[in-house]
């Protein structure tokens, strides 16, 4: 490995005093991502999710999308396991903590998302899906003008998105497309958290693609890269493979070291 980074170290020795710190810093940053992936992958998924939730809550509103991601992309039993782990780790329930620490308009939505225990079977009610698509459309259109109440605070919206099963919501998504010119996610550009909720529940592939894209850009920020790390460590390879394949070139170009191997490993057939 030293040989691979020899150029790096040469620079180091030539300007020993001045570059030492920054070199170490970039090395650390390099390995931090790798370390994160490893630590996340090795922890029990329930504990991992519980810790991720706690951290996101602590960090505040810009990180609430992590809560949405976990609550919406896990299966009912995985989310339940995370809630149990949270009890054991922090002596409180996740609902309590969310309900008392989230102050803004997203509180109702987040608490409800995290409390969900969705039915997982394929059975779907077409008629209910149609009327619910309409209700969502009304809620979104009505609130685009009125700045006081957002769509994510509407009780109808919340209970549809947090109690219905995922297959049912996918049908609602399709029905919405029929009655509105755009998809729900397009209409929700203004309310990012709600948009991500719908994405994760109905079209998770879109969400994953966006995370990959943002993280592999030239000017990608820390958080974006962390998001990618989190995805890679927590989602099933099967779900990510197709997307990772599209970004293969960018991965080879932009990412270095062991972390690159991890990302490319998602593409390989026999990981783990």
């Amino acid at each position: 490995m030293r040989k691979g980074c020899s150029k790096f170290f040469l620079e180091d020795e030539r300007q020993f005093e001045r570059w030492n710190d920054s070199a170490i810093k970039s090395l650390k940053a390099e390995f931090k991502l790798f370390k994160d992936v490893v630590v996340l992958s090795l922890m029990h998924p329930w504990e991992r999710d519980a810790r991720l939730l706690k951290k996101a809550l602590k960090k505040g509103p810009p990180h609430y999308n992590v809560i949405v991601e976990i609550a919406c992309t896990r299966s009912s039993d995985q989310l339940l396991g995370a809630r149990k782990a949270y009890h054991s780790l922090f002596d409180r329930s996740i609902e309590e903590d969310l309900a008392s620490h989230v102050k803004g308009s997203e509180r109702k939505l987040l608490v409800a998302l995290v409390s969900a225990y969705r039915y997982e079977g394929p059975k779907v009610k077409e008629d209910a899906a149609k009327s619910e698509a309409k209700a969502l459309l009304n809620a979104i259109k009505n609130n685009n003008g009125d700045q006081k109440k957002k769509a994510m605070e509407e009780d109808e919206v919340i209970w549809i998105l947090t109690t219905r099963s995922k297959p049912h919501l996918k049908v609602v998504y399709e029905q919405y497309k029929k009655i509105s010119a755009k998809t729900i996610t397009e209409d929700l550009e203004v309310e990012l958290l709600l948009k991500e909720t719908v994405e994760c529940l109905c079209t998770p592939q879109t969400y994953f693609t966006r995370v990959f894209d943002t993280a592999l850009r030239e000017d990608a920020k820390e958080d974006a890269k962390k998001a990618l790390t989190r995805l890679v460590a927590t989602q099933e390879d099967v779900d990510l493979k197709g997307i990772a394949a599209k970004f293969e070139d960018k991965i080879k170009e932009r990412v270095k070291g062991a972390y690159k191997d991890v990302l490319l490993g998602v593409l390989a057939d026999d990981r783990k």
């Binding site: 809630r83 054991s88 002596d91 329930s93 609902e95 225990y117 039915y119 209970w159 947090t162 099963s165």
Partner: protein, 385 residues
């Protein structure tokens, strides 16, 4: 036995002018529909306790020990083998009429685990679901009591909750009762049983069939998975007591914060908060919530508080109202006895005696009769003198 069924239907049509019959009628139909769905389901392996974390299995052990002390159910020290029980039950059904005494003697003295085993073995031995056989043989209040009793507690809760969301038998009270008086894991198992039976989630149905403030309260209650530890944060209790007092003084009863405290905090924490409320502001919170006696939402809110901190008082009141009024509310009586016999009926009975100066068993004898009365007494731990 088909004669009895036809006779039952005939009697029902004759009595259609009596609207009080309708809820009972639908309850019967609901039970039958439930029984039919049994054919599609796997056996009780569907409701499995996840013992992944040591914490949880410790909690379950604690639950079982505590419950045994407060239950009224008596199980003989030497229990006959499961196959013997099944044989006896089969005998009780055969021939003309039914030997109700035998049914009461066996099922009335078996705990949930034993009953589950009996049902499984009966189905394997005779190729028929025990509940179906019972449904064919029995009728009315006695039948409902036996059928509800024979169910696994999680399935029973799922059935009661489902009934409570249907139009003719809707009951916000029952939903709240199930959500608040069960432990976090019991509520969870009920929700899992609901998935298995009805192919949808309890939360969906509650969201769909309740409205307004009731939905605002019931949906979080039913979705809760409370922390079960005894740890209490006194500073938090003070803050939240103050918050509750403010909201109640402003008559903001369905405020988000009020619901948040009641639906997410652990029972121990809520208890501490309400104690502090009383210390600081003089009144019990329920006294302050009596502002408008006709307001149904306030009534539900008061019952919620009761269920969370002293459920035995809540159940005592339900029983008192069910037994002492003119006519008996068999539905409520059956429900309370069935769901608490293995949990804390003893404490409830003590509370009943304290409040009404009459033992619960005597009140039951006075107000009910026949096999229904007999089975209730057996479940309530009454010993023949």
């Amino acid at each position: 036995m088909n004669d009895i069924a036809t006779l039952r239907i005939f009697m029902v049509f004759v009595c259609t002018c009596n609207t009080a019959i309708w809820p009972e009628l639908f309850k019967g139909w609901r039970l039958e529909k439930f029984l039919n769905s049994e054919e599609n389901r796997k056996s009780n392996e569907a409701v499995v306790v996840q013992k992944d974390k040591c914490h949880e299995s410790c909690v379950i052990q604690k639950e079982i020990k505590e419950e045994e002390a407060m239950a009224t159910l008596t199980v003989p020290t030497t229990v006959p083998s499961v196959s013997e029980d099944c044989e006896q039950l089969r005998k009780a059904f055969s021939g003309w009429g039914t030997n109700e005494c035998l049914i009461i003697d066996i099922l009335g003295h078996r705990n949930a685990e034993q009953r589950n085993l009996i049902r499984k073995t009966y189905a394997e031995t005779y190729g028929e679901d025990l509940l179906k056989a019972l449904d064919k043989e029995l009728s009315n209040d006695f039948e409902r009591l036996v059928l509800l009793w024979a169910l696994d507690p999680a399935e029973r809760d799922a059935l009661l909750a489902n009934e409570a969301t249907k139009r003719w038998t809707s009951s916000n009270q029952v939903l709240m009762e199930i959500a608040c008086t069960r432990s976090a894991n019991q509520l969870l198992h009920a929700r899992q049983a609901y998935h298995a039976r009805y192919k949808k989630s309890l939360e969906e149905d509650v969201a769909h069939h309740t409205t307004g403030d009731f939905r605002k309260l019931l949906l979080p209650l039913v979705s809760s998975y409370r922390y079960e530890g005894e740890e209490v944060n006194m500073t938090l209790a003070k803050t939240e007591a103050k918050l509750l007092h403010e909201k109640i003084s402003d008559k903001a009863y369905s405020d988000d914060d009020v619901i948040r405290v009641l639906a997410t905090r652990s029972k121990a924490q809520i208890n501490a908060t309400l104690n502090h409320y009383k210390n600081e502001y003089g009144n019990d919170i329920n006294k302050d919530l009596k502002a408008d006696p006709k307001d149904e939402f306030l009534a539900l809110l008061r019952s919620t508080v009761k269920c969370l901190v002293y459920p035995e008082k809540y159940f005592e009141k339900v029983l008192r109202l069910a037994i002492n009024r003119r006519g008996t509310d068999e539905g409520a009586l059956t429900r309370v006895v069935c769901t608490r016999a293995e949990v804390d009926l003893k404490i409830i009975a003590d509370e009943y005696q304290r409040r009404n100066s009459v033992p619960l068993t005597r009140a039951i004898v006075k107000d009910t009769h026949g096999d229904y009365e007999k089975f209730l007494l057996v479940l309530a731990g009454h010993v023949e003198n």
